[in-house]
């Protein structure tokens, strides 16, 4: 075993109340793309944090190139050749690209020389970047390039990537994969964490699967189906979403010629958005975040009323109605940001239930809170959506992202909406919970409600929606039937890869899609 790059032997790390990792052992070969799979809370983050020196293991050893490796801090890990691209980018908005890169290096050269090196490396790997730009002005894909280039400048032997594709368009993913394959061919090993099983099947040679902090198996992802991988992660059989043939009814919600000024200084404006939503329909709206998703949800929820005549519900103009008036009519929404937008972080689940539930449910008759009824409704949500929490008295911020997401969606679904608009319903949620959320959205439609799902996860939209439309720079494309749409068609509807054309392919060419989602 002298040729392994990194050997992990019996790593254990416990936090008060939970064992995050228990006796974890595996190894990574040079140049290998190795997947780390597991549900939310399976211990993947803790494991990579130990490798990167952010967390100290309680027991166990690591060996890098056969030498003992126990980085006391990230600095030591970096100088040993371990680099990491974080899920939530560790970038500084107000600083320039070059300054951000310099902060992640041990001995950065002067800024001018660094800028030249950034240009050099980024073109070499097909990830063009302008070192002088402010990070605040970059797209999500470009921000990730900053992180990757920062790592590459240090010539890493092992690159850890935590959920790298969750914010990228299909074309951007393809270019990222090309970069990763190039790195792998040059001998850099990559430890790849993702919930997207098809991606793992297409790019990873080996996978190690974690469940409840323990290794429960390893496999060659190419030999398994995505479903089998998901079942290994969950440790149980996965229910397929039940997509019964639905009959679309009358138009229930229509938006015509909607223009809206941007919500924030750098945000997009909505331009002439029109759509018709039928009873029993699931309409998927795809697109990279920041292209008007938040704005669209804010208009439909009533947070940001629009000009009269632009939004009609069952023939009635609701454009200028406030959120509670819309809730009363049956138009419910669940925004993307769970903490602080969909739920008040410091308030209990019961109180959070009351905040959107009191309009359609008898939770506060005559203005007085019926604590018992509210608590009962909160418990009903917790039960029906398998929210893992000690009880409804727990503060929203104490829940993990996935669990809070289940709660937020459940709260709206159980109010029997006629129209439900959700933004990023399964962002950061593990496979089993995501499947449950998707099923609940389909159930709303099956019951005769109508659902708009705004998401960046195209596989998800393909799975559940009847029609698909793309939102790009505030413009909504004409919805297409999802049957028969290919992922390339969708990529083009989304407006391509936002300038991410690799040096060797002319602009506008379809990227080859070997082994990707079919």
């Amino acid at each position: 075993m002298s040729d392994t790059l990194l050997t992990i032997d019996g790593l254990t790390k416990a936090y008060p109340g939970v064992v995050a990792n228990s006796d974890v052992s595996f190894d990574i070969m040079p140049g290998e793309i190795h997947a780390l799979l597991g549900e939310n809370g399976a211990g993947k983050s803790t494991l990579v944090k130990m490798i990167y020196g952010l967390v100290k293991p309680d027991s166990g050893q690591m060996h890098l190139h056969g030498n003992p490796f126990a980085p006391p801090e990230p600095r030591a890990a970096r100088s040993a050749g371990v680099a990491m691209v974080f899920q939530h980018f560790s970038l500084f908005d107000a600083l320039s690209v070059a300054e951000n890169v310099a902060l992640g290096m041990e001995n950065p050269p002067g800024l001018r020389q660094l800028a030249r090196k950034i240009r050099e490396i980024s073109t070499q790997y097909g990830l063009p970047l302008d070192p002088a730009r402010r990070v605040a002005d970059l797209s999500a894909g470009e921000r990730q390039r900053v992180e990757i280039v920062r790592c590459l400048l240090q010539d890493p032997k092992l690159l850890i990537m935590d959920e790298p594709t969750s914010v990228l368009t299909p074309q951007e993913v393809e270019i990222l994969f090309r970069t990763l394959r190039q790195l792998s061919a040059e001998g850099t090993a990559i430890l790849y964490i993702s919930h997207k099983l098809e991606e793992i099947r297409s790019i990873c040679k080996r996978a190690t699967i974690l469940r409840g902090g323990k290794i429960v198996g390893s496999c060659r992802p190419r030999d398994k189906s995505a479903r089998e991988l998901a079942e290994m992660m969950v440790g149980a059989e996965l229910k397929l979403t039940d997509r019964a043939e639905r009959r679309l009814g009358d138009v229930v919600l229509s938006v015509t010629g909607l223009d809206l000024a941007p919500l924030s200084q750098f945000g997009p404006s909505l331009k002439d958005v029109s759509l018709n939503l039928h009873k029993g329909e699931v309409l998927g709206i795809g697109g990279v975040a920041g292209n008007g998703q938040e704005e669209l949800l804010a208009t439909l929820s009533g947070e940001r009323p629009s000009a009269s005549g632009t939004v009609t519900f069952n023939g009635r103009d609701i454009s200028t109605l406030a959120p509670n008036a819309r809730r009363r009519l049956g138009v419910l929404t669940a925004p993307e940001e769970r903490l602080g937008h969909a739920a008040v972080p410091a308030m209990s689940l019961t109180d959070n239930t009351l905040l959107t539930g009191c309009v359609r449910q008898p939770l506060a008759p005559h203005g007085f809170v019926d604590t018992r009824a509210t608590k009962a409704f909160a418990e009903k949500i917790i039960g029906a959506f398998d929210v893992r929490t000690p009880g409804p008295q727990v503060a929203a911020q104490a829940l993990s992202g996935g669990n809070l997401q289940k709660f937020v969606i459940g709260r709206e679904v159980l109010q029997q909406p006629d129209v439900l608009v959700v933004n990023q319903p399964t962002w950061g949620v593990d496979a089993a919970a995501a499947a449950a959320i998707r099923q609940s959205l389909l159930d709303v439609a099956a019951r005769g409600g109508a659902v708009i799902v705004i998401s960046q996860d195209l596989d998800e939209l393909m799975e559940i929606s009847d029609h698909f439309a793309a939102l790009n720079e505030g413009r909504l494309s004409v919805p297409h039937k999802t049957d028969g749409l290919s992922i390339e068609d969708i990529g083009l509807m989304l407006g391509g890869a936002h300038g991410m054309t690799p040096a060797d392919a002319p602009h506008g060419t379809h990227a080859a899609h070997d082994g990707g989602p079919a």
């Binding site: 020196g53 952010l54 801090e73 990230p74 600095r75 970096r78 974080f86 980018f89 560790s90 970038l91 500084f92 908005d93 107000a94 600083l95 300054e99 310099a102 902060l103 992640g104 950065p108």
Partner: protein
Amino acid sequence: MIGGIDITTLIAMLMVASTPVLLAATGELVAERAGVLNLGVEGMMILGAVGGFAVAVSTQNAYLGFLAGAVCGMVLALLFATLTQIFLSNQVATGLALTLFGLGLSALLGKSYEGMRPPATPRLDFGPLSDIPVLGRILFSHDWVVYLSLVLVALVWGFLRFTRAGLILRAVGENHHAAHALGYRVILVRFAALGFGGACAGLGGAYLSLVRVPQWTEGMTAGAGWIALAIVVFASWRPERVLIGAYLFGGITALQLQLQAAGYAIPVHLLSMAPYIVTIVALVLLSIAHRHGAQAGPASLGKPFHASS
């Protein structure tokens, strides 16, 4: 002479009058760029004023007095740092408490020093340069602290803009979680920034009691610390604009004193108010004019940091 006011004297006075606020604001700017809001500037200044005064009088050495003033301010700032960075107390409440504490403690310590005269702080000798008409009086007739304050502004500007340590400090103030994830010691950086800020505020306070007034009276900072805080905000956390703000404040202060001396029939209270009002109004106008494209404050400013989250 215009309207009974000697412009040369006015400008020379302006530089002296601005120095305490300039020092305090420069220090606070560094602390805020590191992401800590320390509202205790007034308290650190006045403690520096009394500490510096007491040491200068007992040793009859003005240099030791200034050193003591800086140390007093720094000690108070490090107390603030310990409370807010290690024990995670609320920064706003702790800062306010620091001001009240400083005011009270300085009154107690200073009781026996009232009415005394401190040793003189000599002007720097520039030789023939001081004899140049007008310019010599304006530029080459001051004590060393005035020049130190200007050098300090330039150093802070260069430090934040060109050095790696300055970049790390800005990074910590911008996004402490990311800085921590990259392996930088957020709390250590903040301790250093706060300590520097406290030393500057203390030095500014000592300048008040040793040069500007020069004697010790209770509550002699008279809100200069608050003006320093306001200057930092309206200067959009930029050292060069802090200089403008502080000199504006000092300029109006000097002007109103001259107006009083020249016997203008303007009520004294209005004149005493003028520096505060004019500074705030001018800085508000400045930040409105620069609103487009101006950077907001450091993104992590005033937020508590704990490594676990």
